[in-house]
């Protein structure tokens, strides 16, 4: 049984903000299915009582004093923007 359908790939692509063609959807469905099938070997392991690891080092909640410092100059912040106007990033219409 296929673990991931072409429709699911299209849904995931939308969530990830990727436009994909029909051919790409078919290709990714096949490849992702193979990878996910491979990944299901993890089900061989009983992990009922195993805690998850999100981070390998023994540290948590690294805090520092909240001291205000200068931000980046506006000119620097906008330097790499594809489009900007009046000191703000400019994007195409959000609502049509």
């Amino acid at each position: 049984m296929s673990r991931i359908s072409i429709d699911q790939v299209k849904h995931v692509a939308h969530l990830a903000r990727l436009a994909i063609t029909e051919e790409e959807a078919a290709m990714f469905a096949k490849q992702l299915d193979a990878i996910i099938t491979f990944a299901e070997q993890l089900n061989e392991l009983d992990t009922e009582n195993v805690p998850p690891t999100s981070h390998v080092l023994n540290m948590k909640n690294v805090m520092r004093e909240d001291v205000p410092t200068a931000g980046l100059p506006l000119e620097d912040v906008l330097k790499n923007a594809p489009d900007h106007q009046d000191g703000q990033f400019r994007v195409p219409a959000i609502l049509e």
Binding site: I4, Q8, V9, V12, A13, L15, A16, R17, L18, A19, I20, F28, Q31, L32, A34, I35, I36, F38, A39, E40, Q41, L42, N43, L45, T47, V50, P51, P52, T53, S54, H55, V56, L57, M59, V62, R64, L72, D76, V77, K79, N80, A81, P82, D83, F89, V91, P92, A93, I94, L95, E96
Partner: protein, 485 residues
């Protein structure tokens, strides 16, 4: 004979005796780049004008001042996912084709403070996703030992540039083997430090719980110099560890008498080529002759590392790469009527297929209804893999095995099936999942191609890794061999 056949310590003594200048070193880099870069294609951007100006400045400093940085006058190449102020940084992706960083990564700041000279930015797999540098959005880097073969990846440009003598040292980054595997394929020394040893501030994030920056060099001693400079706590990276940085160079005593080595049976079993296995067994004999002992052990969850890694790394990548949306920097499509279309078209036109594949795998693994079955399951298996290492390190000082199952493969050989390409990282990935440090050093040749020996240590015990690697290097001459270009 190249000036880069000397170690940093030897070059410093030549500089102080006025036998060479910093400008000579920088000239050597650009002359070699001029001669061989057409074949190797390791660099994406060169920093020639700035590097020559800096060399002049340092040459003046040599006559007027008494205090010198630890990397004084040393030319260095930097992987293109580490941001350099005013020097184009692309991650080998079209989506960042014109990105001009407004600050330096912490490691770059520290290199500058240590008086190193940046020569240029090095090619890689796009966003460090790959094992051959074939996923670069811009160019194909070739292995200096055989131009028909890949240099490994994702830090393929870094390893190839060092092996080709274009720069004596480079920085790479390692998420699942991306420093050690290309170092093995190109016959150079590459270290992935303990997670948290080196600041990730300014490293464009791929998988934040796995990424580490590390040095790629010709010798173990030079590697220790570079790590010395880039290590340590950084207020800009909350995952950089507040752990003292020891003097790595002084760890290179040559003495490994009584050292206890563990050799996981899973690292010499199925999938590892017979020639690589023999090279590693031969290396163990060398270490035995120096007073070490070794025993076979088991890391029983090794076979699950690959699946665990692809779920976790892709999940983290899908979140990290959400920032490339055509708004604040990088590429933006011309073909969009509204914001949603702009996001989708920009990302589809800007990212290559491997990056899209991993973003989608990660988005799927994190999506509602699948999170527990895939992402959380993988996090739990990660715990088991980490415990495997902890158990072995209770009784042994280091773990040793091959870095890769085979020497460098041919260009195009593994590009059609993602899983075949992923399998190449089976011996390096567990190290990232456990967060421990690992090095690859040259330990032999198979049909003229270098083989890498992987030495894995305890958390924050890079010193022991370096001591063992250095002792092996002193007893062999693999690191002195150079490719003919």
């Amino acid at each position: 004979m190249s000036l880069f056949d000397y170690r940093i310590s030897e070059l410093h003594s030549l500089l102080h005796k006025k036998e060479i200048s910093v400008s000579d070193l920088v000239d050597e880099s650009f002359k070699r780049i001029h001669d061989v870069e057409e074949k190797v294609q390791a660099f994406l951007t060169l920093n020639e004008e700035q590097a020559r100006a800096k060399a002049k400045q340092l040459d003046e400093k040599l006559t007027t001042e008494k205090e010198f940085g630890l990397l004084f006058g040393m030319p260095i190449g930097i992987k293109d996912n580490i941001v350099t102020k005013g020097l184009r940084t692309t991650c080998a992706s079209k989506i960042l084709y014109n990105f001009d960083p407004i600050y330096d990564a912490t490691v770059v700041e520290r290199l500058n403070e240590a008086d190193a000279v940046t020569i240029g930015k090095l090619n890689m797999d796009e966003f460090a996703m790959g094992s051959s540098t074939e996923n670069s959005g811009f160019q194909l880097t070739r292995n200096p030992w055989d131009l028909e073969r890949v240099p490994g990846g994702s830090s393929g440009g870094s390893a190839a540039a060092v092996a080709a003598g274009e720069v004596p040292f480079a920085l790479g980054s390692d998420t699942g083997g991306s420093i050690r595997q290309p170092a093995a394929f190109c016959g150079v020394v590459g270290l992935k430090p303990t997670y948290g040893r080196v600041s990730r501030y300014g490293l464009v994030a791929f998988a934040s719980s796995l990424d580490q920056i590390g040095p790629i060099t010709r010798t173990v001693e030079d590697n220790a110099y570079l790590l010395q400079v880039i290590s340590g706590l950084d207020p800009m990276d909350s995952t950089s560890a507040n752990v003292d940085v020891p003097d790595y160079v002084s760890a290179l005593t040559g003495d490994i008498q009584g050292l206890k080595i563990a050799v996981p049976k899973e690292y010499l079993g199925e999938g590892v080529s017979e020639e690589v296995r023999q090279s590693v067994l031969q290396a163990l004999k060398v270490l035995e002759s120096l007073g070490a002992t070794w025993e076979e052990v088991s890391l029983p969850h090794s076979k699950y590392a690959l699946a665990t890694y692809y779920l976790l790394a892709s999940s983290e990548a899908s979140a990290n790469l959400a920032r490339f949306d055509g708004v604040r920097y990088g590429y933006r499509t011309d073909n969009a009527k509204n914001l949603m279309e702009m996001y989708k078209q920009t990302r589809s036109e800007g990212f290559g297929n491997e990056v899209k594949r991993r973003i989608m795998l990660g988005t799927f693994a994190l999506s509602s209804g699948y999170y527990d079955a895939y992402y959380k399951k993988a996090q739990k298996v990660r715990t088991l893999i980490k415990q495997d290492f902890e158990n072995v390190f209770e009784k042994y000082d280091v773990i040793i095995g091959p870095t890769t199952p085979t020497p460098a493969f041919k260009i195009g050989e593994k590009t059609s099936d993602p899983l075949t390409m992923y399998a190449n990282d089976i011996l390096t990935i567990p190290v990232n999942l456990a967060g421990v440090p690992g090095i690859s050093i040259p330990c032999g040749f198979v049909n003229g191609l270098p083989v890498g020996l992987q030495i894995i240590g305890k958390h924050f015990d890079e010193s022991t890794i370096y001591r063992v690697a250095h002792a092996f290097e002193q007893a062999t001459d693999y690191h002195k061999q150079k490719p003919t270009l």
